[in-house]
């Protein structure tokens, strides 16, 4: 099935399940969650943890 043919179950001759990746990409709020989660964990939280572990000068 080509992309042009795939426009939802209405136009599909067989009621095929929607592939997982397509369901992910069609869910803006899941993408919003992932788009905040990944940089928050890898950049901000991990970075802040490293800053807190810097020894205080005496």
């Amino acid at each position: 099935m080509t992309d042009n043919e795939r426009t939802g179950s209405d136009s599909s001759p067989v009621d095929e399940p929607i592939p997982l990746m397509q369901r992910v990409l069609d869910n803006p709020f899941l993408l919003l969650f992932l788009g905040i989660l990944v940089p928050t964990v890898f950049y901000i939280i991990w970075g802040v943890i490293e800053i807190t572990q810097i020894p205080i000068a005496e």
Partner: protein, 564 residues
């Protein structure tokens, strides 16, 4: 006042245009261009001061102008225009009403009040802390307050966009998946939410610190979280201007993406990994581990770079496929040679794509590599890089689509056509020159934030190589050229919007030409053909340039840092 569900039909594409969304697109685009003009003027003053033979401003005015330039063009112009893109890509492309137009107006007013507040604070002269505003340098409270208000307004705009996606789905105004341009705009909106959240986390305590209510802000913590906002805000631009590339390809050529799935996966790479490139600003900070630095830049950032390279191939590829389907099949490049180079929407978009890839993209990867970053960290190479991405890339792309918005959304005939044909070339060449010459000066070690590269009043004299002075002179000339292109753009757009002939209700604009197949911009669907030999050749040239430049920098590193 028109109902929020009132529509008109676009005589060119047949799309339903929500009148409430149309007004918001106009308001945001006008505000964007006003701040582009203000920020561009400050940019000219900065460039004339960095031009050693001119050295135009005294030190205090230089830092004031640099602060205003950074804020007005990196944040205000770009994000106002992105709000216009978000409302266009949601309401217009999905044929639906805008969710919460009153909220959208509230967001617009907050952004406007915030931008004016910050500008006034900067112009008063007590907040010349530059765009980065690193602590312990302290600006006046209105400086931070204005940025916070602006960010809250932009956040409201993002949620109006997400609300409109929900409205369109509930009201079934489209079938299947959203169009690719809307998906790209959604990517920009997602990155914007992270950006604004990072800004709020660090700027609210900094505002309290400037009011005397918080005693201390840790500089490294500030810098880390601030760049979550400062760099990610430029990733909103990347996502938005890539969406604009796809939109212009569809609206000028009726081009469909080569593969919807591949292009969406490339946007997914942006959503997941583009923001963490912020870490390249921290690559010389001793407080972070190599694991944190390398994962966030050289490892995961490359997945976002992969996304950009996919777009860099599929956008010209989709144009080539569309042109070849019209019979322009001779040789490798007839499709490109016979492209409408006098249409500023196309010429601006194509130059944006080339400059973004060759200048901004390659230099971004070089700076994201921990070892070779040392050659140019905090030198003028950094502004050279981001003028390649934000000015030659994003700004040129936004200028290009404005030439379509004027007749289609403002419903005015474009004035000064000859000037419009030349404008993208003048601005594009100027912007590319600024990027290249600053990168050249940065490679020779010129500091990015210093007022006087001759160090005339320094106790210990220091001389940059004479080539660095040549680079800064050429940078000044390129900046004058880019400013001329910017003035041409403002004159054309303001002249057309306020004095251009109003198009009739069913009248199709004659220039720039928009074919009926432009409606492809609002539909899901891939190109029927994958035969793109010309694009494959261009991609090959890009890879050769990329590999050569990357390894030249490693060679250069071995020379500036000899080990025995």
């Amino acid at each position: 006042m028109a109902s929020s569900a009132a529509f008109r039909i676009c005589p060119t594409t047949g799309l339903k245009v929500n009148l409430a969304a149309e007004k918001l697109i106009k308001a945001n685009a006008v505000a964007a261009i006003v701040f582009l003009a203000i920020g561009g003027l400050f940019g000219l003053l900065v460039a004339l001061t960095r031009w050693p033979a001119v050295h135009f401003l005294p030190a205090d005015w230089f830092y004031l102008a640099l602060t205003a330039h950074g804020l007005d063009v990196l944040i205000v112009w770009i994000i106002f225009f992105e709000m216009a893109v978000l409302y266009f890509a949601s309401s217009v492309l999905l044929n639906c009403r805008l969710a919460g137009p009153r909220w959208a107006w509230a967001g617009f007013v907050l952004m406007l009040v915030g931008a004016v507040t910050t500008n006034v604070a900067v112009l008063q002269g007590q907040s010349s802390v530059m765009f980065t505003s690193y602590v312990p340098m302290m600006a006046q409270p209105p400086f931070y307050l204005g940025i916070i208000l602006f960010a809250v307004g932009a956040l409201i705009g993002c949620f109006v966009f997400f609300g409109t996606l929900v409205v369109a789905k509930q009201e079934k105004t489209y079938e299947g998946s959203i169009p690719l341009v809307t998906f790209g705009a959604m990517t920009a909106a997602i990155i914007a939410v992270f950006t604004i959240a990072s800004g709020a986390i660090i700027l609210i305590p900094t505002l309290l610190w400037s009011l005397g209510l918080v005693s201390y802000i840790d500089p490294l913590l500030y810098k880390t979280i601030w760049w979550g906002m400062g760099h990610s805000s430029q990733q909103i631009n990347v996502s938005a201007h890539v969406a604009v590339w796809y939109a212009i390809a569809a609206m000028v050529f009726g081009a469909k993406p080569l593969s919807e799935k591949v292009s969406r996966m490339a946007f997914l790479m942006y959503i997941l990994f583009l923001q963490i490139a912020s870490a390249h600003h921290m690559l010389v900070e001793p407080g972070f581990s190599s694991e944190w630095k390398i994962f966030n830049t050289s490892y995961a950032m490359y997945l976002a770079v992969l996304g950009s390279m996919v777009h860099g191939m599929t956008v010209p590829g989709s144009i080539e496929a569309a042109q070849r389907s019209r019979g322009l099949t001779k040789g490798l490049f007839e499709w490109l040679r016979k492209a409408p180079w006098s249409n500023p929407a196309f010429s601006g978009m194509f130059m944006s794509l080339v400059f973004f890839g060759f200048i901004g993209g390659i230099s971004g990867v070089v700076m994201g590599t921990e070892q070779i970053n040392l050659i140019m960290h905090n030198t003028l190479y950094v502004p050279g890089h981001f003028h390649g991405t934000v000015v030659a890339g994003t700004t040129l792309a936004f200028m290009a689509i404005t030439y379509l918005l004027v007749p289609l959304i403002f419903r005015r005939e474009l004035k000064f056509r000859k000037l419009a044909q030349w404008q993208p070339y003048v601005f594009g060449v100027g912007a590319a020159g600024i990027s290249l010459f600053m990168m050249g000066a940065g490679t020779l070690g010129v500091s990015r934030r210093h007022w006087d590269m001759t160090f005339a009043d320094a106790q210990l004299p220091f001389d940059y190589p004479s080539a660095a002075f040549l680079m800064m002179g050429l940078n000044g000339i390129a900046a004058v050229l880019a400013t001329l292109g910017g003035i041409m753009f403002v004159v054309i757009v303001v002249g057309s919007v306020f004095f251009g002939r109003k198009l009739g209700e069913n009248e199709k604009p004659s220039y720039p030409e928009v074919p009926p197949s432009a409606v492809a911009v609002a539909h899901y669907g891939s190109s029927q053909s994958l035969r793109i030999p010309g694009t494959a050749m261009l991609v090959g040239v890009f890879f050769i340039a990329f590999v050569l430049y990357y390894f030249v920098n490693w060679k250069y590193l071995s020379e500036v840092w000899p080990l025995s």
